[in-house]
């Protein structure tokens, strides 16, 4: 469904040029949930911006279905990391979620049904007429997700969406993503630097190298579904996968395994 084909991106020109993405190719199938992980500063956000048509790649291309992406496609929605900067503070939850639908040829009643359903699916119906800044961080990100769902995309891109919420909220939001993905049959590309999160959510994981970025490895995640925050993470396969991804990222960063082993065993991948 989504094809990233020899994508490269260089910022600037001449001697000041910075190569952010060297050469990245991978495919995402319909209704698949793919996580893109990589070390901090590895060009994940650049990659996502190229995939969403916000940024023109220097080389290669991104295709959605058979169409080349050269601007934000109609069938694509994006959830940003900074929910407090991507929701419009002068609009209520209802207005925020409904705003992208203004251009759609929907009747007024139909539109408000779509909006209310989307908000209900993230459990915020009671807050329809509140402003985003009256809600907690996790709730604001749920509003952003509702806005994306109301847009009725075939593919949903998420840019480290839970990087700035607390751990408990993050677990709830991860489960929300799994639920809506199932409920709406939407394809999800989820960018994160959190290895646990990527293993927990994914059908497949695309592991990136440090900048200038290439694909280090594409990993199948054969963990059973539905997944569960406790029982899934107890599985030996989960631990193996997580260790595998961790080593892949750390090795590419030039850190040996001994180094990793020297860390406290309980939580080697401290969440930031």
């Amino acid at each position: 469904m989504l094809h990233v084909d020899h994508l490269s991106k260089t910022y600037g020109e001449g001697s000041g040029a910075v190569e952010a993405i060297h050469d990245v190719s991978f495919d995402v199938d319909a209704q698949e949930l793919v996580c893109v992980v990589g070390p901090s500063g590895c060009g994940k956000t650049t990659l996502l911006k190229c995939m969403s048509g916000l940024l023109a790649p220097t080389g290669g291309e991104v295709r959605l279905g058979s169409e080349r992406v050269d601007g934000p496609p109609e069938k694509m929605a994006l959830v940003f990391q900074e929910y407090n900067r991507s929701l419009y503070p002068w609009m209520t939850v209802r207005q925020n979620v409904g705003f992208p639908l203004r251009t759609r040829s929907l009747g007024k009643r139909e539109r408000s049904t779509v909006v209310e359903d989307a908000v209900a699916s993230v459990d915020l119906s009671r807050f329809l007429d509140r402003y985003p800044w009256e809600l907690s961080g996790g709730m604001q990100q749920r509003v952003a997700i509702a806005r994306a769902l109301a847009y009725q995309p075939e593919i949903l891109l998420m840019d480290e969406p839970f990087a700035s919420v607390d751990a408990q909220t993050r677990a709830d939001l991860e489960d929300l993503v799994l639920r809506i993905r199932h409920q709406f049959g939407v394809t999800v590309v989820f960018v994160t630097h959190d290895i646990d999160e990527s293993v927990y959510l994914s059908d497949r994981i695309v592991v990136l190298t440090p900048s200038p970025t290439e694909v280090h490895e594409v990993l199948e995640v054969p963990l059973p579904r539905p997944r569960h925050q406790v029982s899934t993470k107890e599985l030996p396969e989960f631990a193996h996968l997580r260790a595998h991804v961790y080593r892949a990222i750390k090795r590419r960063q030039g850190q040996g395994e001994d180094d990793a082993a020297a860390r406290p065993a309980a939580e080697p991948f401290a969440r930031s």
Partner: protein, 258 residues
């Protein structure tokens, strides 16, 4: 909490009243020709402004102020939006804007009288020309400084140009636009008075100058008093409107700080 608030209100209202009483007592047996007793000024104020000269002087002044200020706000926001959205154009326009804005306003009076005559048009022009700059510059700054994530969100959701400008850029820049409008409001009042002091036959500014020239000192003071009251009133009204319109902004900022 409420007791504290009551005390604040008492202070806010009480201090000016106290000051008035002090001035009244001090001036009551003043022999000075230039500082007549406050009671004289107040009774002149009542005679002149309630409501004898309202039609002849206050209304013309307010019409000039209102029109000049409205034109300044509309033009400032409209041009500011265009320049704020177009970096190239902004660059090209910047020296011109900075130059025009730097001209001391009264220096424009002789020119404007020459070209536009001495009627309302000239006064409205002067008021608008001078008070447009704070609105314009703040609109440019506000629009150009809209958070990139906010813009990208609009692009991802394929928001049309009109909606993007009017429903995203404009509200996002509105806190800064309002700050500019507030500065412009006091400028407009100043320019209203100045323009009425030169080549005019009516208006509050004209009245103050004419009273001084005819040694009607209590009248002069009553005009100054009225201008002060108007300025205070307009500012209070402005704050009231701003609070309503920018309620979201105060809320968002408060929640970001907490």
């Amino acid at each position: 909490m409420t007791r504290r608030r009551a005390l604040d209100l008492l202070l806010e209202a009480g201090v000016p009243v106290l000051l008035l009483v002090v001035v009244a007592i001090w001036s009551s047996n003043s022999g000075s020709y230039y500082y007549p007793p406050l009671t004289d000024v107040l009774s002149t104020f009542r005679r002149a402004w309630l409501f004898d000269r309202v039609g002849s002087d206050v209304v013309p002044s307010l019409v000039r102020l209102g029109l000049g200020y409205a034109i300044a706000c509309a033009a400032g926001v409209a041009i500011g939006l265009v320049l704020g959205l177009a970096p190239r154009l902004r660059r090209a326009a910047d020296p011109i804007v900075q130059f025009l804005r730097a001209i001391p306003p009264p220096a424009l009076l002789p020119f404007s009288i020459l070209v536009l005559g001495v009627d309302n048009t000239q006064k409205i022009f002067i008021i608008a020309f001078v008070s447009v700059w704070p609105v314009l510059l703040n609109t440019i700054d506000g629009v150009a400084g809209v958070d990139p994530t906010l813009r990208e969100t609009a692009r991802v959701y394929r928001i049309g140009r009109t909606d993007r400008v009017l429903r995203i850029m404009l509200p996002a820049a509105s806190p800064q636009i309002f700050a500019g409008m507030r500065t412009s409001l006091s400028l407009a009042l100043i320019l209203m008075v100045i323009s009425e002091m030169v080549a005019s036959t009516n208006g509050i500014g004209y009245f103050v100058l004419e009273s001084q020239r005819t040694f009607a000192i209590p009248e002069m003071w009553s005009g100054i008093l009225l201008l002060g009251i108007l300025g205070y009133g307009f500012n209070a009204l402005f704050v009231l409107v701003e609070r309503r319109v920018l309620r979201w902004h105060r809320g968002a900022r408060a929640s970001a700080l907490s």
